[in-house]
Symmetry: D2
C-alpha cells in the first residue's frame, strides 16, 4: 500500500485552467495531497486560492523562492512540486526547487531554449531528483498500447508517419483566441514561436513516444497566416527519422472546424496504426489484408503496460484529465519509491526532462530551417 504523498504548486491561481487540471488529475487517484503553494504574484489572489484549496496559511507562500527554501527545510516538506506558471518563468522556478532538493513536475514547453533545459537536467541528475514534463497526451492508455504494439513488431518497420495537430481557435485577427491567444502570439511572453511551441511539440513528442523513432533532420515552413500576427500560426514540416523513416508534421491554430485534432498515423512494413486524440478510446490497426480492426481501451488484448492504467471498463470513457492522471500515477509511484529507496529506472513511465529537451531542439531546428528558406536542418543531439 502506497503512502499518500504531498505536493506543492507554483502557479495555478484563481481561474487558471492548467493548474486546475493538474490538481484534478492528481486528485482522481488520490496519489498526492496539495499542502503548499504559491499560486499568484497577487497576494490577495494567492491567499484566496490557498484558502479555497484548504491549505494552512503558513504554507501559502508569497514567492516561489521562499516556498522552495521553506518546504525544503520542513521535516514534512512537500514530496514534489508542480510548476504551472507561464513558460518564460519555468527555468528559474525549476532551478530553485531542484536546488532545494525537491522533485519537479513542470508543464510544457519546458523552457525557452534547450541549453536551459540541459542545465536543469544536469542539476536534477546531480541531485538524483526526478523531473517530469507533462506532455499530457502520452498519458492516454491507447498511446501506451500503441507504443507497446510497435515495440513488439506488430506493424514491422516504420516507413512513414503522418502526424498533425490542427486547431481553429486563433483563426481570426479579431482576437478569437482571447487572452491566452494574446500572450501566445506575443514574442515577449511566448518566445520565438507560438504554434510550434504550444502544439507542434506535442506532435513531435507523441510520435516519438509511440514509435521510439528519433528525428534526424527537419525541413520546416513556419507561417504567419493571420495578418498582423508576429509569431507562427501554421507549421508544415517534413521530417526524416534516424533509420530512414519519413514523416510530415502539421500543426495549426487557424484550421476552422478543428478543435484539438492531434492525430497520428503510423505506416509500417506489416501494418498501420491510426490514433486520434479526440477519439482516444480507440486504436485502429490495419494489417496486410487491408482490414481495419478497431480496438477500444479496456479490451482484453490491451498490453499489460497499457491495461494497468485502465480505471474503468471499455466504453466507460476516460478522458484528458485521466491521461494526465496517468502521468502522475507513474510519477508519484517513482517519487514514493525514491523516498522508500526502492526506485529503479524501469519504473519510469512518464515524459522525462529529456523529452522536454528533445522538444526544444525540434523547435530550434524547425525555426532555423524556416528562417533559412525551408532547408534541411539536423537536430543537435
Amino acid at each position: 500500500m502506497r503512502k499518500i504523498l504531498t505536493y506543492g504548486m507554483v502557479g495555478g491561481g484563481p481561474g487558471a485552467l492548467v493548474g486546475d487540471a493538474h490538481r484534478k488529475a492528481i486528485s482522481i487517484d488520490n496519489s498526492a495531497r496539495l499542502v503548499a503553494g504559491c499560486f499568484s504574484r497577487n497576494p490577495e489572489k494567492n491567499k484566496a486560492q490557498g484558502e479555497k484549496l484548504g491549505l494552512s496559511a503558513d504554507r501559502c507562500y508569497a514567492n516561489y523562492k521562499e516556498m522552495a527554501e521553506a518546504e525544503s527545510a520542513r521535516e514534512d516538506g512537500i514530496d514534489f512540486v508542480v510548476i504551472v506558471t507561464p513558460n518564460v518563468t519555468h527555468y528559474e522556478i525549476c532551478k530553485a526547487f531542484l536546488e532545494a532538493g525537491i522533485h519537479v513536475s513542470c508543464d510544457k514547453p519546458l523552457v525557452l531554449e534547450s541549453v536551459q533545459a540541459g542545465e536543469l537536467k544536469r542539476i536534477a541528475d546531480e541531485k538524483g531528483l526526478l523531473f517530469m514534463v507533462t506532455y499530457t497526451y502520452t498519458g492516454y492508455v491507447t498511446v501506451k498500447y500503441i507504443r507497446d504494439l510497435i515495440k513488439s513488431g506488430e506493424i514491422g518497420d516504420i516507413r512513414t508517419v503522418m502526424a498533425e495537430y490542427p486547431q481553429g481557435w486563433l483563426y481570426d485577427e479579431n482576437n478569437s483566441g482571447g487572452k491566452q491567444g494574446e500572450w501566445r502570439c506575443d514574442p515577449a511572453q511566448a518566445g520565438k514561436v507560438n504554434c510550434l511551441g504550444d502544439i507542434g511539440t506535442h506532435v513531435e513528442n507523441t510520435v516519438g513516444t509511440m514509435t521510439g523513432l528519433k528525428i534526424k533532420r527537419v525541413l520546416a515552413k513556419l507561417d504567419i497566416v493571420v495578418p498582423g500576427r508576429k509569431l507562427d500560426d501554421n507549421d508544415q514540416i517534413l521530417v526524416e527519422y534516424e533509420g530512414g523513416a519519413t514523416g510530415m508534421n502539421w500543426s495549426s491554430q487557424i484550421a476552422i472546424g478543428c478543435d484539438n485534432g492531434l492525430r497520428v498515423r503510423i505506416f509500417g512494413s506489416k501494418g498501420s496504426i491510426f490514433w486520434f486524440q479526440e477519439n482516444s478510446e480507440e486504436v485502429v490497426i490495419a494489417k496486410e489484408d487491408g482490414i481495419s480492426h478497431t480496438i477500444k481501451r479496456g479490451y482484453k488484448v490491451m498490453t499489460p503496460g497499457a491495461a494497468k492504467y485502465c480505471r474503468t471498463p471499455a466504453a466507460h470513457a476516460e478522458g484528458w484529465l485521466e491521461a494526465m492522471a496517468n502521468l502522475y500515477d507513474s510519477f508519484t509511484e517513482c517519487v514514493a519509491a525514491k523516498k522508500a529507496g526502492t526506485f529503479t529506472m524501469e519504473m519510469i513511465d512518464y515524459p522525462l526532462i529529456e523529452d522536454g529537451i528533445k522538444g526544444l531542439k525540434y523547435v530550434e531546428a524547425c525555426l532555423e530551417s524556416s528562417q533559412n528558406g525551408n532547408v534541411w536542418v539536423e537536430l543537435k543531439v
Copy 2:
C-alpha cells in the same frame, strides 16, 4: 467559496469498481472528503481499505448501523453517505442513514421494488433530507445540453424516441461475464430481472431526463437468449409516452461487438437529436433541411445549464467519471446549501429518488407485460 464537505461510504471495499468510481468522481472536483466508511463485511478488508483511504481508525465501522448512529451523533459527522453495496441491501442501509438524519447518495437500481423506494422517499421528505440516485449517464454535459435544447423547443414536439443500450459481455453461456455476470443472473441476488434492471433502467432514465416525457404504457418482451440463464438478457420494448409520442427501447447483454452502447435518437416535429454514450463529447442535431450539425461539449453554443459543468475546453475529452462528478457537483452544492440554510429546489440538477421510483415502476410494468404475453401495461403513477 464553498466549504469542502465530508462524506462516508458504505460498500466500495478493495477491488470494487463502483465504489472506487464514486470516490474518484468526488475527488475530481474536491467537492467532499471521505472521512468515514464501512467498506466490507470482512473486518480485515474493511480495516485495510480504511487505512488505504486515509481514514482515522475510529471512523472505519464494522457495520452500517453503527456507522449511521455514530456519525449522526458526532458534531463533525459526515455531511452525506454514499451507498454502493449490492442492490438487495440498499433499502435497509438507505433507511438507516435517512433515519439518522444523513443525506444519501445511492447507486442504482435503487431498491428491488417500487414500494420500498416510496417508503424511502417518505422518510427523506419527512426529514427534509436530500437523496440522489446515481444514474451516471445523465451527468454528461451533452445530456444536460440536450435537455435544455428540447425544453426550449429546438426540435418541436417529440414524436418518437429510439433508445437502446446494447452490451455484449454476457453473450456466452461459458461465463463470459465473470463474477459480476454470475450474480447479476442469479435471481437470489439480482431479483426478478437482470438486463432490464442493470441497463434497461438507464435507457428509461436517460430518455426521460433528456425529453421530460413520461411513460404512459409499455409492451415488453424480456427474453433469455443464452441457454441455461434464469433472468432476461435481451429486452425489446414498445413505449407510449403521455401526449402521444412513441418509442422503442432495447437493452441487451448478448450483443457481441457492443460495449456500452447507450444511444438515444429523438425525433421531433422540427428536428432531431442524436446522442451516443460512447461518443458523449458530441451531439448531432438535424433540422428540417436534413443537414446534420455536430456540436461538441464546450462549444460556445452550449446552454448555460450545460456549460457550467465543463471543466476542460472542447475536445479535451471528459469521460464517464466526469459525468458522475457532475452529479456530485450539484448534489454537494445542495447539501452545502442545506447546511447553510440557502437551499432551494431550483438548485437540484441530479437524479432524484423519484427517478429511482420511476425506474422501478418501469421494470415492474415491463415484467408484467412480458409475463402476460407482451401486452400493454400502464405505468402506475
Copy 3:
C-alpha cells in the same frame, strides 16, 4: 459470350425516377437493349419518350395489352419486360405479359394483396417464366457477402436482428414530400399502407435475404404521426423468427435527419454483423473478443458469390444503381439461359416472386396486428 438481350418497359415516362433508374441499371453492364415500350398513357409523352430512347415507332405502344400481344407475336420480340408503373396497376400488367409468355421484372411492392401475387406466381410457374421483383438493396455486393458469411456459420446462430429504415422526407404536414408524398399517403392510390409498403418491406426483405430467417409472427404498431395523414408514417414492430430468433423492425418517413437509412444489425452466438445502406461499401464484423473488423467491398476476403459482382476495385465506390444492375446481371443471365435451354435453379441470384409474396404477407400480418391493438399475428405461409 452472352448475347445481348432485348427488353421492353411499361411505365417510366418522361421525368419518372424509377423507370430511368432501371434503364440506367441495365445499361451499366449492357446486359440488354431497350427496344419496345409503353411509357405513358398520354400519347404525346409516350411517343416523345420512345423517340428519346431511340425506339422504332412501331414498338412504342399505346397500351400494355397491345404491347404484350405484339411483342409476343414478333419473332424478334422482347426477351423480358420491365414494369415500373404505380403499384395498383402491377397485377393486371404482369398478368398480361406472363400470359403472353414473356419473362417479367416488376418493381416492388409487387401487388396490393398476397392472393394476387400468388396468382401471378401460379401463371409464371405454369408457363416456366422467370419473375424478378426488384428489391434493389439486396443487389449490393456487401449484402451478398453478408448472406454468404451467415450461411457459412461465421457468426453462429442468429439471436436477434435490429433492423430499421428511417427517412425524413414526409415529416411535415405541409407537403414536404411533394407529389410522390401525396400519392403514397392516399389510400386510393397506395392501398392500405404507406410507409410499411414502401420501405418496411425492404427491411423485411433485406433481413430475410441476409439471414435466411423466416418470420413466424409479428406484433406491429403502425402509427400516423403527421396530423391529417390517412396512412401510416411510422412503424414499430416486434418480430419472432422461426427457430426462436427475435428482432425489432422500425420504418419511418418522419425521422428528420435520416435520408435512406436502411440499417441491419445481426447478432449471433459467435459474432455480429453491421450493415448500413448509406455506407454500403463496408461491412463491420465483430467477433467474440469485441474487436470490430471493417471489410470493404472488393477486399480479397469477399466470398466468390459476392466478388463476382464487383465492377471496380475496393474504394472505387459502387452505388445504388450498381446494386440494381446486379439484380439485372443475374436476371438477364437466367433469361439468356432459358433461351439457350441451359437454365438451372442454382443460377438464380435475384429476388423472386416468392419474396414479393412474403413481403405482402408481412404487410398483411402487421396491419392485422396493429388494427387489433398490437397483438401477435402469425404469418400465413
Copy 4:
C-alpha cells in the same frame, strides 16, 4: 432532345479495367453508343472484343491509324474517340485522331512530358476540337458543389489546403500489386515517376478544381520506400499557391489500410471544407463557430451546377462510375453542340487538356525538386 452520339475506343481489350469503366460510364446515361474500336494489338482479342461489344466487323480496326483515317472518311464516322491505352502510347494516338479531325477523350496521365501535351493542345486548338482528360474524381457531384461554394466565397480566402491520396496496394516487395504494379514501377513503361503520376496528379487536379488555386512552387520529396523498387512510391510535398495559400500534398502506395484515400481539407478565413473520396456522397463544412455541417449529395442546398448531375435522390449512393459518367455528360453535350454549331465555352464542365498539362508540369517540378535535394521549384507556366 439530344441525339445519341457515336464513339470509338482505342484500348480497352478483354479484361482491361479502365476501358470497361469508360464504356460503363458512357452507358449509364446512354449519352453515346460504341460503334468502332481498336481494342488490342492482338488480332484475336481485338476481334473477340468487337464482337462481344456488338460492333460491325468493318469498324473493328487492326490499328489506331487505320481507324482514325477510316472513321474520319465515313459520313457516319464516330463523333469522338476514347483513348484508354497505356500512357506511353497516348501522344501518338491522340495526335492521329486530332489530325483526323476527331474529338478526343483521353485517360490520364495524359502523356509523358508537358511539351507533348502542349503540342496536342496546339493541334486541337487549330482544328477547333474538344479534348477531355478523364480526371474521374472531379466528376463527383460533391466536388462540383465544393467548387461552387468556394467560388461564392463561402469559406473566405483560402489559407491552407491539406490534400492526400494514400493507397496500400504496393506496400510489399513481394509483388502485392500484381501485373499493374509491375508496369507502374517499371521506368520503361511508366516513365520517370510511378506514384506521383498515377495518383499524385489526382491530388493536384482535385485541389485545383475545387479551389481554383494555381500552384506557384513546390518542394517535393519523392521516396522509394519498398526495397528494390525503381520509382517513387511515397511522395511528400510542400506547396505554395499563387496569392499566398500553402499546402501539403501526400500521395502513397505503401500505406497499408488505405485503399483509395483521396482526401482534401480546405481551410479558409471564414470556414473550412472537408471531402473524402471514399465517402463522396458527403461534404462537411465548418464555420467560424466550429460547428460542422454534413451535407449530402442531393440535398436542397446543392448549387445548380452540382444538382444538375444528380441522378438519384440523396442517400441512394452514386459512385465512381457515375463520377466518370458526369464527365462524359458534359463532354458529349459539348460534342453534340459542336456538331449543331451551338457550342460555347461556358458549356464546358469537364477536365481540359490544360488540366493535363498542369498535371505534367506539377510532376516535372516535383521531380526536379526532389532530385535537387528538396528545394523549391517554380512551376513553368
